[in-house]
Structure formats: structure tokens, C-alpha cells
Amino acid sequence: MIRLMKYELRKSWYLKAILLLVTAVAEAVFLIGLWGGKDSLTATGVLLLTILATTGTMVIGLGTVFVLHRDINTKQSCMLFMTPHSSYEILGAKLLENAISILLIGAFFFGLGALDITLLFAKEQALDRLWQIMSEMLRTINENLTIDAPHLAAFLWMLIADWLTTVVTACLADVLSASLLAGKRFSGLISVLFFLALNVALNWLIRLIMNQIPTDFVTSCVVGGCLSIVLGAAMYVVTAVLMERKLSV
């Protein structure tokens, strides 16, 4: 399994390297702006970093779906599927590598964001004031919302769990296209529609369950994230069974 993960990392490292490179450029723009007193550069850096932080994990997730697509639809599929590993291990290694990458990249951006905000307001000597303003803004949206570590962590957990489940669902749609729908007309379109429908259904199911449990924001995020992971695990099993029994490469 570790060896499979090693090669999964190798297949997608370039995407991560590009993300880190672009992030380094954005961070440099931010720091130059901050220390050079150029507000427009600082703002550009913040904007770029915000975009990268929000899209970075998405890109990494999509990268996994792209690699899976290539692994089951090209001549190189032989390379992976001739190894003495089951589809459960092959898919598991892909998803685990992806989950670890998303968590690490999420943590990286979280840390970088915290560092940059601290630098920004340490320089402006208004860090306390910043937290106060942000907390007040959140409270205007919902009086239970506060900006603190548990709230942020719970919210990020929910986002990452949701995204991981979306990635697994996309993998299922891709495998469906290459197995049960292989050689059939409109297989690509059908699998995309299947992916969209399944996502809507899963979100509806999570909301339905969450509505039965009146709770606070943090618990709601944690439970919602856990539900996503459970459903994602179920999608993983379905995908692996489909690969094991029906996928020909």
C-alpha cells in the first residue's frame, strides 16, 4: 500500500509543485508589498493567496480524478493493474494519498494565512482590533458565529470532508464510465450526469440527517464532516467493487 502511495505521489507531484511555486510567488508579492509599504501589492498578494488557498485543495482533488482517469483509460493502465494488488488497495492508495495531500495543503495554507495575518497586523499594530472587527462581522451574520480556533477547525474539517467525498464520487463516475458504460454511446455524458445527481443526493441526505439534530455550529460542522466521510467511504467501497469485478484495462 505504501509503495502504491509512493507512485501515486510521484504521478501527481508536478501539480503540487506548481501550486507551491505559484504560492511562493504570491507570498513574495505580499511580503514585498507589506515591507515596502505598497498597499496595492499587499492587496494583490492577499487576493492571490486567498484564491490559491481556496482552489488549491480543489485542484489537488481534481488531479487525483485525472490520474485515475489516465490509469484506467490509457495503455499505462497495465502498469498499475498488473501489480499484485486488489482494486481496493489501488483505489485506497490513490484516495489516501489524496486525502493526506489535501490535509497537508489545507494545513499549509492555514498556517501561511495565520502567519501573514499576524505579520500584517503586527506591522500595523492592530492585531487585536482585527480579530474584534472580524468577530463582530461574523456575529452580524449569525450571533453564534465567532472566529476562534475551534470554529475555524470545525469549518475546515467540514469543507475538506465534503471535498474528499466529492472526489470519491467523481472517481466512481469515472470508473462507471470505463466499466459498465465502456464502449457505449454517451458514456462520458451519462457518467457526468451520474456524478452530479449523486452529489445532489448525498448533500440532500446529509442535510436531512443534520436537520434532525439541532446543534451548535461547531458540532454541526464536525458531525456533517463525519457524515460526509462515512458516505465517501461507502462510495469508495462501491467504486472498488466495480473496479474489481467489471473494470477491464
Binding site: F81, T83, S248
Partner: protein, 234 residues
Amino acid sequence: MLESRELTKKYGSKTAVSGISLKLEAGHICAMLGPNGSGKTTWMKMAAGLVKPTSGEILFEGAPVSIESRRHIAYMSTEPYFYTWMSAKDVGKYYEDFFEDFSVERYRNLLARMELTEDLKVKALSSGMAAKLKIAATLARDAKVWMLDEPFNGIDLLARDQIRECIVERAGEDRLLLLSSHLVEEMETLVDRAVYIREGVLIESVDLEQLRTERGLSMADLYRQIYTGKEVIA
């Protein structure tokens, strides 16, 4: 050692392999013959566990092919399948990581005999060099069954001789080598059994010595007879 029972594979309305029952024993080098699209590759891929049969079954040492059988069956696809980011050294490392029966020493030796070096990049290889690299990686395993799909494709005469030598060296009483190739006459001196497939159907599985002594035909003669429909006079 390797047996298929009523093995069928359909792709939509097209039948690639149709009810092939075939038993291949250890101790032989066997040719799988047939024109393009006759079902040779599909049969081999099913034996390698890469393609799932529509019906029937394929057994390795009496048990259905599985993850376990992949440890003992070395399959070489006719298509170039190594990751393009790899070098020849990476290919060896990959095989070493996944196959316990892979010998790095034997791989290096085979590379040298094929006049390849470990620093060569897969994406920069000519088709002949890529084919030789596939052969080196596959034959560096100490498998029970080797299935080489078109091992001589795109390879010049001298390299073909090298490959023939390497194949013969891997033969043994407890091993089975199954080769598919269009170069029927060239295979004649290499193999001792031949399986003829046409349009997904098994036509004949013959012992070449018996074919020569009892029917007075060579492997190529029978090939011509089967695929042209014309009787070959012995």
C-alpha cells in the same frame, strides 16, 4: 498450469474471445497465433487478470486468476505501458517494488545485453528500444508463467536474436512461456507448441513435433492452412 474453460469476452456486440477452452502445461514454450483481432491479446489479458471475462473462467494452477496469480504470471503487453516520466532505472525500481521475484541484477544484465542503459528516459526511447526495455523488465522476473504479447514487434533482426536467446534461457520444466507473434516462421524454432485462434475461437492447439511427424506440417504450414483455407501439401 494455465487453463481457460469456455472463456468468453464480449465488448458490446463484438465478441473478442468465444468459448475458448484451453489447457497449457508447464515445461513448454508455446506460440499463440492468429491474425490481428483474433483474440490473442484479450485471452492473455484475461489470464493476466487485466480483463474480466464475460463468461467462463481462467485458472492458474487450478485456482481462478487473482491477485495471488499476478505474483507468478509475468505479462508483457504489446503496447508501450511504462510511465513516460520513468527512466530505465525507475522501471527496474518499480518492478522491484511490486514483484518479489524480480531480480535487479538480472535486469541490469538483460539491459546490457539489449544495449540499453539505466539512465535512458522512457519518453525518449525509439519503439525498438522501448520494446527491448519491456522484455528486459519482464524477463528479469522469476515467474512461473511468462506471457509475451508480440515480443518481436518493432525490433530489428539482431535484437530479435538476443531476445530469442533470453526467452530460451528462461524456459524450464516448471515454467510456461506463451508468446504471440506475427512472425510465424521465426517462432518455429523457438516454440514447441502452438495455439491457433481465429475470430475469437480456438481452432487448434498442437504439439509441433507431432504436427511434423504425424501430419508432415510445419507451424507455418498449418497457419497458412487455417487462415487461408487452402490445403498445404506436405
